[in-house]
Symmetry: D2
Subunit: 356 residues, 4 copies
C-alpha cells in the first residue's frame, strides 16, 4: 500500500537509508515453531556483503544482522520478526560534492521531483544498500519453504559476454566472485571487469534464478499469478530493467508447437518434456523448475565525466567518485534469489489458506 512492504501473507517491510544509523525491517506472517537463528540470516547476508573481492565496492560493511523479536528459544513464535543492520562504514562526506547534482541514471532527479526533498548521502533510500534487508528476509523465506525447495542464482551474462550453458555447473558459482556457473567464462569475465574498472566504466549483466522442488499449485490468478508476482519482485530490485520466465522473449518468435511443453507419464505421474513455461502455466506453478532471468543495467555511478544539470538549472559535468560496484549485477544474484524466496513463501501460505 505504501511502497515499502512486499507480500501478502509472508510480508516484508523495510526501512532505512544508505547513510542513516541503520537499515532494518519487519517480517510478518512467519509460521510458528520454525528453527531460526541470526546465523541463518547472516549466512545469506555474507553472500551479498560488499568488499569480498576486487570486483565489488570497497565499502566495508560487516552487515551484521540482529533479530529483535519473533524468536523464542530458537524457534519462531508467529509474531513479527524485527531486523536491524547497523550502517558502519558510511562516508557521507564523499557525497557533499554531488548534493546539488542529478547523477545520470540515478534516482536523484526523481526523488527530488517526487518528494521535494532528498537525502543525497549515498543515494539515501534509493541506494541498493536497502537490499541487505531483503536478503535477510529471503533467508527467513527459505526456512518457510523448507529443504525441499532449493533456490539458486547465477550470473549468466556480464556485459556482452555470456556463458556456455553446456558447461553449467552450480557448484562453480560458489568458486568464482561472479556467481558464474561456467568456470571458463568466469576467467574471461575477471579480465573484462578489470578493464572496465580501469577505464572508469561499468557494465550490466543478466541474472538467472532457478527454484527447484516448488510444489505444483502456487499462484493466485488472475492478477496475482505466480509469474506476475515474481516479475514485480525482480523489477523492484534497483537497476533491474527486464524480467522473463522460461523461454521469455524468445517465445515471441516461436510457434505454438515449438513453445508448448508436451506431456507424458513418468513413474505414474504427468511430466513435461520441456520447460519453456519456466515452471508456471496460467499463473500457477507446474512443479517444474521456476526459471527466471533478470536484466540488470550497468552501474550508473561512473568516474567518466557525464553531462547533467544541477538543482539550480545549471548545465554541468559530473564524474561520480566514491566506492561503487563496476557491475552491480554480481551482488544482485543473492538479492534475486531472496526475492524469489519471498514470493514463493508468500504463495505457499496463500495456497495453504485457500486450498488447504
Amino acid at each position: 500500500m505504501t511502497g515499502n512492504t512486499f507480500g501478502t501473507l509472508f510480508r516484508v517491510t523495510t526501512f532505512g537509508e544508505s547513510h542513516g544509523p541503520a537499515i532494518g525491517g519487519v517480517v510478518d506472517g512467519v509460521p510458528p515453531r520454525l528453527p531460526l537463528a541470526e546465523a541463518d540470516l547472516q549466512r545469506e547476508l555474507d553472500r551479498r556483503r560488499p568488499g569480498q573481492s576486487r570486483h565489488t565496492t570497497q565499502r566495508r560493511e560487516p552487515d551484521r544482522v540482529q533479530i529483535l523479536s519473533g524468536i523464542f528459544e530458537g524457534l519462531t513464535t508467529g509474531t513479527p520478526i524485527g531486523l536491524l543492520i547497523a550502517n558502519e562504514d558510511a562516508r557521507s562526506k564523499d557525497y557533499g560534492a554531488i548534493k546539488d547534482l542529478f547523477r545520470p541514471g540515478h534516482a536523484d532527479f526523481t526523488y527530488l521531483a517526487k518528494y521535494g526533498i532528498r537525502d543525497y548521502r549515498g543515494g539515501g533510500r534509493s541506494s541498493a544498500r536497502e537490499t541487505a534487508v531483503r536478503v535477510a528476509a529471503g533467508a527467513i523465506a527459505r526456512m518457510v519453504l523448507g529443504d525441499a525447495v532449493r533456490i539458486r542464482g547465477a550470473l549468466v551474462q556480464m556485459g556482452p559476454h555470456g556463458i556456455d550453458r553446456a558447461r553449467w555447473d552450480w557448484d562453480e558459482t560458489a568458486r568464482n566472485p561472479f556467481w558464474c556457473p561456467d568456470a571458463a567464462a568466469a576467467e574471461a569475465w575477471a579480465d573484462h571487469l578489470d578493464g572496465v574498472r580501469k577505464s572508469a566504466s561499468s557494465v550490466g549483466g543478466i541474472v538467472e534464478v532457478v527454484a527447484s522442488g516448488v510444489p505444483v499449485g502456487l499462484g493466485a490468478p488472475v492478477f496475482d499469478r505466480l509469474d506476475a508476482d515474481i516479475a514485480k519482485a525482480m523489477v523492484s530490485i534497483p537497476a533491474v530493467k527486464g524480467v522473463e520466465l522460461g523461454s521469455g522473449f524468445a517465445a515471441a518468435a516461436r510457434s505454438g508447437l515449438e513453445n508448448n511443453d508436451a506431456m507424458r507419464m513418468k513413474d505414474g505421474r504427468p511430466v513435461f518434456l520441456s520447460n519453456n513455461a519456466g515452471g508456471v502455466l496460467g499463473g500457477i506453478s507446474t512443479g517444474q523448475d521456476i526459471v527466471v532471468r533478470v536484466a540488470i543495467k550497468p552501474t550508473s555511478s561512473i568516474a567518466t565525466p557525464q553531462r547533467t544539470v544541477n538543482v539550480d538549472g545549471a548545465e554541468v559535468e559530473i564524474a561520480t567518485t566514491g566506492r561503487h560496484d563496476p557491475c552491480v549485477a554480481i551482488r544482485g544474484v543473492p538479492v534475486c534469489e531472496a526475492m524469489l524466496a519471498c514470493v514463493l513463501a508468500d504463495h505457499l501460505l496463500r495456497q495453504r489458506a485457500q486450498c488447504g
Copy 2:
C-alpha cells in the same frame, strides 16, 4: 490479497469464466465528478473485440459492457463502478472432447492441481476472455489520467518478423489488423499469419506500449516502484512471458556511459538526452515516455496434434479445435494498454495522497 484484484487506490476486481453467464468486475477508488459513459468503455472494448478480421478468433462476442453503479447523471460519484459483460457466443460443447485432457501450454493441468476442480469450458477462468473487463477498467483509468496522458500500444514483432522503427507511424496502427506501426511490415505479417493459420500453427509476438505525458513523480519505492507494478501488470496478462522497460535486456550488454541518460536544460527545465530508462528512474517516473515491451508466447491452442496426458494418466494426442487466435499478441495490444493505464491511474492517486 485474493488474486482477482489489482491496484491499491485505483482498484480493479474481476470475476467470470469464459463460458459462464457473464464476466464482470468492480472498479473502486475512482475520483468523483469525472464524465463517464458506457460508450467510453465500449470504444476500448471494441478495439479488443474478437472476430474483426480473419486474423483473430471467429467467436462472435459483442462484448457489450453495462455500467451498473457509480455513475449519476453522466458523472462518476466516487462509489464503486460495477461492470457486466454477458457471454453470448459461448459454445461449450466444443470443449466436451477435451474435458479430461491437459492441453499443452494451457492452465488445465495447474488449475486442476491447485483447486482439485476445473471448469474446462473454454478454459474457464484461465481464458483470456477475462481481459475484456481489464480493457473496460483501463478505459476508466484513462479518464482518471486525463487527456494529458496518452497511452498507445503497437505490435512490434510477430513471430520472427520485426518492424523497421524508422517507419514507425502511430496512425498506421489503426489501419491494419495487427496494431503494427510499420505499414510495410503489416503487409508481410498478413501473409505470414495466413500461412500460420493454414498450417494449423500459431505464433508469438512482442507488444510495445508507450505512455506520454506522464507527470514526473509517480511510483512508490522501494517495492511498489512504478516499473515493478508495470511488470506485474503485464505479466498478469495471459500468455505473457517477459517484460522490459527502456533499454531492457539490451542494457545488460552496455556500459554505464552508454546506458545512462545524460541531462541538459531546455526551455528552463531539465531534460534527458535519451530514454534508456524507459521513463522510470529509481522506480519513479521521470516525465519522459514510459516505454514497455511485452513478450507474448504463441497461442497454445493449435490444431496440430501434440503429446499430452489425460486426468486418468493415459498418454494421448490432442489437436485443439475450437475458435482461437493464431496470434494472441494482436489482441493483447489493447489489453497491455489498459493495464498500463490502470497502473498509472493508481500511482497518480497514490502520489496525490502522499505528496499532495
Copy 3:
C-alpha cells in the same frame, strides 16, 4: 484500500446504489470444492428481505440473487464468485422532493461534502440496501466455516424495551417478526412498534450475535485481533453506533476478579467457568461462544418534521416520506450475522495459512 472491499483472504467487494439497475459484488478467496447453490444464498437473503411484516419497509424487493461465476457443477472452483441482485421496486420519484435537502441523521450532507456529487435517489450508495450483498456473502462464509460453526442473531432491545434473558429461546427468534428470543417481549414490542409507526417516529435497538463452535486460535494480533475485525465489521453496517464483546462496557465497572474467566479442566480439556471475554482473549478466539452486541440507532427517516438546511443554504423543515423501516435494527439482525460469518471465515483461512 478503497472502501468497498472487506476481508483479507475471504474477501467481499460490493457495488451498487439503492436505485440503480442492480447491486452486486464479488466474493474472492473461497476454497474450492464447496457445494454452493443460489438457494443457499437466497435462504439468507429471504431472512433480510423487506416487506415481510407490517413492521418493516413496504418496498417489495424480491432480492433474487444470481451467481455469475465461481461455481461449476454445483461446487465452488476457487475462482471469484460474482453476485448480482436486481433492483426492481425502486421508486426514484419518491425522492425528487428531497434531492436538495440534507435529511437529518442521513449521509446526504457528508456524501455531498466528500464527493461533490450525490445520487440522492433512495440514499444512493449510503442506503442500507447495499447490505443485501453482505448477507449473500455471509451465506458463502457460512459454507466456508462449515456446519460446526453456528452463527445466530437476536434483537435483545427495541427502543427502551429489553428482554428477560431467563426466557431466551433461540427457536423463538424465527417465530416473531423481530428476531426476539423472548416471546413475551416480542408481543410487547409489536404493540410498541405499532405506536412508533403511527406517531411517525422510529426507534433504535440492540442486536446480539453469537457464534458457537468457533475453533480456538482465530485472530491475528496485534492489529487484526479477531475482536477488532469484528468491531470494524459491525460498525461498517449502516446505523451502527457501538459494539461490545462479552461483558463489554459493563467490564469497566468491574474488578479483575469479577471479570476474569477462571479456568478448570473438563473431560480432559481446559474450560472457562464464565465468558466475560466474549470468546476472545488477546485478540484470539478461545473456543467459547463469540458474543457480540451491536447498538443500532433509530431510523433517521421519519415523517415528523425536522429542522434542516438545503444545498443552497436555506433553513427548511423536512418530513421524510417514502417507505422506511420504523426500526432498522430488526433487519439488521441477519446483516450482523453475515458480517460475523465473513470475519470468522476470513480468520479461519488466515489461521490455516500461518499455522497450518
Copy 4:
C-alpha cells in the same frame, strides 16, 4: 494482512515483545517535508510512560524512542520512518513461576493454542508494552494532521465511578494522574484506586477521545467507514471490550427525532444543533467533533488467587505478582488518542487521493 500492520496509506507496522531486546516499528506513507524530531515522539511517549505515579506499574522504562530513518535535516523525506525503543527494565525472572500457567483474562491460553509456542516473559507479544510504538506512531500522525486537528483523551469512568460532565475541564486532565477531566472525581478516584491496589484487586474504566477540527469528508464507505476504522483501532488495543461513537449504545433507546442532529445555518455554513452522530454520518466525518468512548476491562493480572489450569492440564491457583497497573485504562488514554490520530491521518491521505 498479517496482523501487525495498521492503516492503508498512513501505515504503521510494529514488532517486539515485552521482554525482548527492543520493540519498534515502521511508519510508512508519511508525506514529505514535515518537521519531525525524536522529541515530538518522546513527548507523547512520556505521557504513556509507566512509573510516573503510584497509580501505575512501577516498571521503570525510560521508553526512549530512536528514529532510524525517514528524516533528513529535520524534515520527513517521504520514506519509511523506522522506530526503535529498547526494553531496559524487563525482569523476565519474575515470570518463571507462571510459564506453564494460563493466567485468567490473559492471552496465555490463546497464544499457545494458536501458535503452539509462546514467549511467556511478560506476556510476550500480547503485552500492552507494544502500545508504546503506537503512541510514537500517533505522534507522527498528529504531524500529518497538522495543528488544526486536535485530539484529546480523558478517563471518564474508573470502575463504578463516573464524572460530572458539568465539571469537564480539558486542562484538568494534565493535572491529575488519571487524565480525569473532573477535578473532584479525580480526588475520589485516587482514594478508590489506593483501595483497589491494597486489596490486590484491579478495576476497569472508560476512555473518551475527542478529535476537534477534523475536516468534513473523511471516511471511505461502505466498509472503511471512518467510524468502522476507529472501532477497529480501539478494539485492537489490549483490554478493550467495547467502543461507541456519539450517542452510542444510548441511541438504541431513542427515537429518530431525539437522536437525529438537526441542521441550521450559522455564519453562512450548515451547522448541526447537536452531535449524537459523534462526528460521523454514513461513515464520513461531518466536521463536528469525533467523539469516541472506549470500554477497558480491569487489569487481568491481580495478586488475588484465581482458579486456572496449567499446560499439563492440572487445576491450580494463581496469584499474579510482578509490576502491574491496577487500572490499565489510565495509561490507555494516550494510546486511544494515538490510534485515533492514526485513523484520521490515514483517512486524510485517502481523501486527498480520491477527492483531491
